[in-house]
């Protein structure tokens, strides 16, 4: 599986163009200085159908579950994921991909258009801290350690760090040990150990690690060559990362060596969480993996409706709340799930 980042899509465009002979058009597009209307940042629409928007990231803020997704949708639940309502005021309607809270009030959400939003009231109202329309470099994940220190990551090794609660953001560059140049691997998911060590699951089977709250990073390589979309530090310190087509890898030594965890899932794993007694991973086409032995073995199941699951979070009650491309899925194992 070779991966095409958005940058290589440009190359791809040219390739397709050669292959199909529609080059003239491509050339015109590339050179023509047609008057452009600009994309506009507009507030999220308040809609009774907000719960049907694709949800891409979720977190807890005290007793509250906060989920973010497409069209600037932010959903809030105060009953452990049973019912959701839309946040009162979100100043953007671009796609949000991830959310992180440090307490019941303070949280940050990131997404496309280089967007970083902050809330001080548990997710009801949000303010824009950063946006970048010059460059199409989406942010995929955010993690805050406390009210001041936080990290956000995204396309082509984009790492942003703040020490002042998001007022200013610094770009952290990472070298690619293979080429010596600046790394351009996509960074998909931030996950932290209770100790404060921060990890990022990334493209081409790599995992980044930072022991100084995101200032400097080192690269750990897994035997896997594909993209790793999700990751988790378990209570016993074991690392678990998930990627394309059901790929799962496990490390018991902080990432120095990895073992593949074989399982029956063949769909890409989008998120994973650990409850008091098990590890749950969710993925595309309705796949769900559960382990009751600390991630050594997993049992796979698949939803009958093949709904792509995109995020999971542990509600204060201990239930796993899952989300999908068409919004809220709910808690527990619904009747629509059958064993594979």
């Amino acid at each position: 599986m070779k991966y095409f980042a958005a940058m290589s899509v440009k190359r791809l465009g040219a390739t397709i163009c050669l292959a199909t002979g529609i080059c003239a058009l491509y050339a015109v597009q590339a050179s023509a200085a047609v008057e452009q209307s600009e994309v506009r940042i507009s507030p999220a629409v308040i809609s009774q159908f907000a719960t049907r928007a694709a949800i891409l990231g979720a977190a807890t803020a005290g007793q509250r579950v906060v989920a973010v997704g497409s069209y600037g949708t932010v959903l809030l639940s105060d009953d452990g994921g049973q019912s959701f309502r839309q946040a009162r005021s979100v100043p953007v309607s671009s796609t949000l991909t991830s959310v992180s809270f440090v307490d019941e009030k303070h949280g940050w959400a990131v997404g496309h258009w280089g967007m970083i939003l902050a809330t001080e009231d548990g997710g009801d109202t949000w303010a824009v801290q950063r946006t970048d329309l010059k460059e199409d470099r989406p942010l995929f994940s955010v993690h805050f350690f406390d009210q001041n220190e936080g990290v956000a990551v995204g396309l082509w090794s984009l790492i942003l760090r703040t020490g002042d609660g998001g007022k200013t953001w610094d770009r952290i560059s990472v070298q690619d040990p293979d080429t010596g140049g600046e790394s351009d691997r996509n960074l998909f998911k931030l996950f932290a150990a209770p100790s404060g060590t921060l990890f990022v699951s990334a493209e081409r089977g790599s995992v980044l690690r930072s022991d100084d709250r995101g200032r400097t990073w080192s690269r750990l390589d897994t035997p896997y060559k594909g993209s790793l979309w999700s990751g988790l530090v378990m209570k016993d310190g074991t690392l678990l990362v998930g990627g394309l087509r059901g790929s799962l890898y496990r490390s018991r030594n902080g990432g120095s060596s990895w073992d593949q965890v074989r399982n029956d899932a063949h769909n890409s794993i989008t998120d994973m969480v650990e409850t008091s007694d098990r590890v749950v991973a969710v993925g595309l086409n309705g796949v769900r993996l559960e382990s009751r032995d600390g991630g050594m073995t997993f049992v796979a199941s698949q939803r009958d409706d093949r709904l792509s699951l995109t995020a999971a979070v542990i509600a204060p009650s201990g239930d796993v709340v899952t989300f999908s491309k068409t919004g809220i899925v709910g808690t527990g194992t619904s009747s629509a799930v059958s064993s594979k």
Binding site: Y3, A6, I22, Y26, S37, V39
Partner: protein, 797 residues
């Protein structure tokens, strides 16, 4: 010099004209009838060549905003003239060798159907059903079923692979049903082939039925929907119109015989009406028209009108015979006496039909021409040919006396009714009428425009076509009803990221609209492709911000049919709707308009609306807008004619008020029975007024005569009711029973028309027999006449 403002002059002129016409016609009665016979034979020759003919194009309203959009982009969008053919396994899933083989065979058969755009046919088996995949080598688009796979070589592994590709490519819900028991074949039809020949939809339906017959058995069901199938089925149903008309004819004949007890007098009005029908069909053929399945009832409506006038003539002639006149004298008197009310009535009906031209839909205009021609011919056949032919009859006195006795005994039970002319009773009648009118106006508010029922509105719920349509709508995301919204931008806009973003917001807004099942759009494709190029990561399912990336994805999407013009000057949003109820389409269109008002992007125009629902919305719009002017014109004609002939505003009010009340009761009836205002029912409502006025004219005509002879209003009304009451009630009931048989038709619109028309015949008759006399009495009381009543001279004998 004739001064049309002087009553006497007009009377004299009319009198002279009538007398001249009568003498001319009766003096040369033999050559006249011979000439008519020859003419009828000639027209009959052409009439026999008339064929049923349907067309998609002629159902499109000309010049409507939506239709303009539809026509401008029809080459770039999904055509509204599509066929969806579903192969459904009755007992198993579609993922077996047998099922996929059957699908292959049907796909091949569809590709070789005439008029099908061969390269555009899509099913699991066609090479244009591509699955985009990211592989080690890069992006790849493969057919769902590789070209090397044949039905014989299908193995369990290969089928599993096909199933996987189908799901990966997002074809579940489009090419394969959600429950995986059936698969769809989509084909586009071109109405005109490369040689310029138009599809004969009636014939075409036969080849579709053959296709179904060939592939449907105990294991597989073949469901077919689409315009060609729909109009074909309607045409099939319409051919049974002949049976209903035959039944109506026999019923009418029996009733007329019961009424006049003479075979000759029974056959006469029927033959006369039939003659004009022959002329009408011949004329249609000569004008180059065919008989449209949707307009097939109109000639028979005209036929019914003819019978109605015929009965009035017979009534008059028998009345005169009983008074001892010879057949010729009786016929002459009838000719003279009924020419004016007859012409008035037929001209009103003629104008009613002509007003249909207001609706700018070619099919409706064709119908207007058909109908108005028919009514025009009636003036000759019923008002001249009938009495002239009757003058040849030799009838003995005994027949006339018996007829008179029957008349007396029948009129006996009319006596209580005739007492509505007494002022006290009249007041009660007016009071009741006012209440009913008020209730009808109140109840008929928010009437339904368009159709309420799902599926093809012309066909019944339980018709095969509608069962197929419902089954397909339940199992596929893309039903029959879709509305396409077009985003127009300047040429070469494929790097204008703002358009995609703007459309994406629109799509999100529309997705959350009641009645919208699913949305397929250029912006949605951008999301899907962007996600696909990024390993299917859900977080990359966005409209890209990067211009070059955006442009190359647009190039990709441009290779698929139906989403855009290659240079992005037009990108489309297809909204698939739950049904085509006027309220559903209306709600969705309102939402689009609201978005259009609230959000603007410089250089981008949001245009409504292509897709079959767009066309339907345009038709509904035109019908809605045409209704009031049509009614106004019809009433204006009646008022003008009545005013011209009777020169009395009392006549105008007495004739029009009952009609107005009747019309609103008709609206109430439509609302209660969930009959929407459509191109089928609007002509019925307008025509009902045209026919309803007949009764008023015949009664008022007698009333004028008696008033002119010096009777007081109460007595004059009683006489009038007794004289024409039986004939009027009889005609109304006969016609109502005749058209009521249509309620059993397999065509829904025909059943609707039948019920509505039967109801309107009865309502207008009741109005003419009660409200008209009551109004006349009180108008006379409130506005007493200063000068004696003058009827156009001839009526005074």
């Amino acid at each position: 010099m004739i001064n049309i403002l002087k009553v006497n002059d007009v009377d004299k002129l009319l009198t002279r004209m009538l007398a001249g016409l009568e003498n001319f016609c009766f003096r040369f009665r033999t050559p006249f009838l011979l000439w008519l016979a020859i003419f009828t034979a000639g027209m009959g020759y052409f009439a026999l060549q008339l064929r049923m003919e349907a067309g998609f194009e002629k159902q499109l309203p000309i010049g409507h905003e939506y239709v303009k959009t539809f026509n401008e982009y029809r080459g770039d969008l999904l055509g509204a003239n599509r066929l969806n053919i579903v192969v459904k396994a009755r007992n198993e899933s579609i993922w077996t060798q047998a099922s996929l083989t059957r699908l292959y065979e049907v796909t091949q058969a569809v590709i070789y159907l005439p008029s099908v755009d061969r390269l555009g046919v899509q099913s699991l088996w066609t090479p244009n059903s591509l699955v985009n995949e990211i592989t080690e080598e890069g992006f790849r688009a493969d057919p769902i079923i590789p070209g090397t796979v044949t039905p014989d070589s299908l193995t369990a592994e290969k089928i599993a692979e096909i199933q996987r590709s189908t799901s990966l490519g997002g074809f579940v819900g489009t090419l394969v049903s959600r429950d995986q028991t059936s698969a769809m074949i989509v084909a586009e039809l071109g109405e005109v082939d490369k040689d310029g020949n138009k599809i004969d939809y009636v014939e075409y339906n036969k080849s579709l039925n053959e296709l179904r017959k060939r592939f449907e058995d105990e294991n597989y069901e073949i469901q077919i929907i689409g315009f060609a199938k729909q109009i074909g089925d309607i045409a099939d149903g319409a051919s049974s119109v002949l049976e209903f008309c035959g039944a109506a004819l026999v019923l009418t004949a029996m009733a007329v015989y019961w009424y006049c007890r003479s075979i000759r007098f029974t056959l006469l009005p029927i033959i006369c009406s039939f003659t004009s029908l022959v002329w009408q069909f011949g004329a249609l053929r000569l004008l180059g028209f065919g008989l449209d399945p949707l307009g097939v009832l109109v000639p028979f409506l005209v036929f019914a009108i003819g019978v109605s006038h015929g009965v009035q003539q017979i009534n008059f002639i028998v009345h005169e015979l009983a008074h001892g006149k010879s057949a010729e004298d009786a016929a002459r008197t009838s000719f003279r006496g009924l020419l004016i009310p007859g012409v008035l009535a037929l001209v009103t009906a003629f104008v009613s039909f002509v007003t249909l031209v207001i609706i700018p839909i070619p099919m409706v205009r064709e119908l207007a021409i058909t109908a108005s021609l028919g009514v025009f011919f009636k003036i000759t056949t019923n008002l001249a040919m009938l009495p002239i032919a009757a003058s040849y009859f030799t009838l003995d006195r005994k027949y006339a006396e018996e007829a008179m006795d029957r008349r007396e005994s029948r009129a006996r039970w009319l006596r209580p009714l005739a007492r509505v002319a007494e002022p006290g009773r009249a007041l009660v009648v007016i009071g009741i009428a006012a209440c009913v009118f008020g209730a009808a106006v109140w109840q008929s508010r928010d009437r339904v425009i368009g159709t309420l029922q799902p599926g093809a509105p012309e066909l019944r719920q339980e018709a095969r076509f509608n069962r197929d349509a419902v089954a397909i709508a339940q199992n596929y995301d893309t039903g029959l009803d879709w509305l396409t919204v077009v985003f127009e931008a300047s040429p070469e806009s494929c790097n204008n990221v703002a358009i995609g973003d703007f459309q994406d917001k629109f799509v999100w807004d529309m997705q959350n609209t009641p009645g919208v099942l699913s949305v397929a759009s250029y912006a949605g494709q951008l999301r899907t492709y962007n996600e696909g190029y990024n390993e299917g990561h859900p977080k990359m399912a966005v409209v890209p911000l990067d211009e070059a990336n955006y442009a190359s994805l647009s190039t990709e999407i441009g290779r698929m049919r139906g989403y855009m013009r290659k240079d992005c000057s037009m990108t489309a949003v297809h909204l698939f709707l739950s049904d085509h109820k006027a309220t559903t389409i209306g709600g969705v269109i309102d939402k689009v308009k609201t978005f259009r008002n609230d959000h603007q992007l410089e250089g981008v125009t949001i245009r409504l609306a292509a897709g079959n629902s767009g066309v339907l919305a345009a038709v509904n719009d035109e019908v809605e807008h045409a209704e009031t002017p049509m009614m106004v014109y019809v009433f204006a004609t009646i008022i003008a004619l009545v005013a011209l002939v009777y020169r009395d505003f009392r006549a105008v009010v007495a004739c029009c008020l009952p009609l107005l009340i009747g019309t609103f009761i008709g609206y109430w009836f439509m609302k209660e029975l969930q009959i929407g205002l459509t191109v089928a029912t609007l002509p019925v409502m307008v025509l009902a007024v045209g026919i309803g006025v007949d009764y008023a004219f015949y009664i008022y005509n007698r009333l004028q005569l008696h008033l002119a002879n010096g009777l007081n209003i109460v007595r004059a009304l009683e006489h009038s009711i007794l004289e024409v009451g039986t004939a009027t009630i009889f005609t109304a009931i006969t016609l109502a029973v005749g058209v009521a048989t249509w309620a059993f038709s397999e065509l829904k619109f025909q059943a609707d028309m039948g019920m509505l028309l039967a109801f309107m015949f009865i309502v207008n008759m009741i109005m003419a027999m009660t409200v008209l006399p009551a109004c006349a009495v009180w108008l006379e009381k409130i506005f007493p006449r200063r000068s004696p009543v003058r009827a156009p001279g001839i009526l005074a004998h």
